[in-house]
Symmetry: C2
Subunit: 273 residues, 2 copies
């Protein structure tokens, strides 16, 4: 199933704000959905409710795991303005349990609208080897080799060789993950797909020597700067501060034309030992 | 009026979730409230609704200016768990107009809880001259010298001399603002006060040569890592990407013991020319 189908939602027919969606078969990871993928589903519903095509800034708080199967996204339009519309939502699982709470502002990132905006860029795109020299991830590290195809079979993720050693127990010592992101099934990544990209890489701190195997996201914020051009995306994620039982993970996503298309930051938890 | 009074809220007496608050006299800037100060007021209400003292991660979307006078904060508890509680809120002005929408997760940042957490810090606190060698801001740049005391008289903001030249038209050329933040009236900054700190400095891009005089915040996210120790806070704000009509502003706040107490990122708008 391709990304568009795997994130499709059905608008309400009763004039309310509740959309139906699902964690699609084969899009989970061992029974749990990726947080960015859940955010993409929520964003489809919210963009429809906003009447604007593109998420500009979107924040999700992760409340419980997203399990395969039906989801309901309860949206509420908070404000609609000339340029932007702000929507909040709660995504719920089959028994009504809250999975994520989301707050987002949507707009139209048609490139012509920003063509005359002043530009000032103070950092380069991540320096990556060509994708065929990177390390393809076909499964989540530590997952069972014999399992059925899952999320990692629907995206095309290739890690910078310097950052991929953790899979063989050789950690780089730098809390960083860089690589190429694309969708399989021949689909281009749109602004909704960027929300999946920013949460698809292994945790940065897998490259540190901390005694941690699991890094749950508390909150993820993504800023979408532009609609990506077709082609694989250059991504980089870094962590500077592991303190107080928390860590941040800062992400950048650049498209094939060298344009910054998204920034992300998540707050994750270091589970108590 | 001190910060605690200027951000106080009155809990609902009807069992609902609506709190009363106000933009206090002298806490506006020429008739509009600072975005971080508004967030502090909202966070007081949300922390009460959450039953947890400290914001851990809080995101606000800015919808209309906060004017001096009464505010209502409509809170809703989305989920309460063992360690955290997640609350969403809309702050409204006198005529019910939405001022900010907020989504936050609250917890207890008592230092004993994090004492045994692994720590890994990859960046130093900002290097600042002693505060008496910094440039005190008593008013917003460009504001009328003859106005009444306002927000800038209630906080103690001292800019790094290298970043303060923009006030005299001498821009550093680097999109950065560093300095000391403290509250006046002898109050220590608590985790709610950090939310004001992260939005109190002049925009970073005042140090670039862009033709911009006004940089409205679309969205601000703050992560609170620890309760600050007493004393002035070291702060640094930087911008790397001014693209597509938007810019991010990344902030760090460190306390007097050299502990990172907050990180922030805001998405701001470059008004169209």
């Amino acid at each position: 199933m391709d990304f568009a189908d795997a994130t499709a939602v059905t608008p309400p027919t009763d004039g309310g704000g509740a959309y139906d969606g699902a964690v699609a078969p084969g899009w989970d990871i061992g029974g749990n959905a990726n947080g960015g993928y859940l955010l993409s589903i929520a964003a489809r519903a919210m963009a429809h409710a906003a009447g604007r095509p593109d998420p500009v800034t979107l924040t999700a708080h992760y409340l419980s795991p997203g399990k395969p199967g039906a989801l309901r996204i309860e949206t509420e339009l908070v404000k609609t303005g000339k340029r932007f519309a702000t929507v909040r939502a709660v995504m719920r699982g089959p028994e009504g349990k809250a999975v994520i709470a989301v707050l987002g502002t949507f707009g139209d990132l048609d490139p012509s609208a920003a063509a005359d905006a002043p530009t000032s860029v103070h950092a380069p795109p991540p320096d990556l080897p060509p994708s065929d020299e990177c390390v393809a991830m076909r499964r989540v590290a530590n997952s069972d080799d014999g399992g059925p195809p899952d999320f990692m079979h629907n995206i095309d993720l290739r890690l910078h060789p310097e950052d991929a050693g953790f899979m063989a127990g050789e950690r780089s010592g730098t809390a960083r993950m860089r690589g190429w992101f694309d969708l399989r099934h021949g689909q281009a990544v749109d602004t909704i797909g960027l929300l999946t990209a920013v949460d698809s890489f292994p945790p940065t701190i897998f490259n540190l020597g901390l005694p941690v195997g699991w890094v749950p996201t508390v909150e993820l914020t993504a800023h979408v700067r532009a609609r990506p051009a077709p082609g694989a995306l250059r991504c980089a994620f870094t962590t500077r501060f592991v303190t107080g039982g928390f860590l941040e993970e800062d992400g950048e996503v650049w498209d094939s034309t060298g344009t910054l298309v998204a920034q992300s930051r998540q707050l994750a938890l270091l589970p108590r030992g």
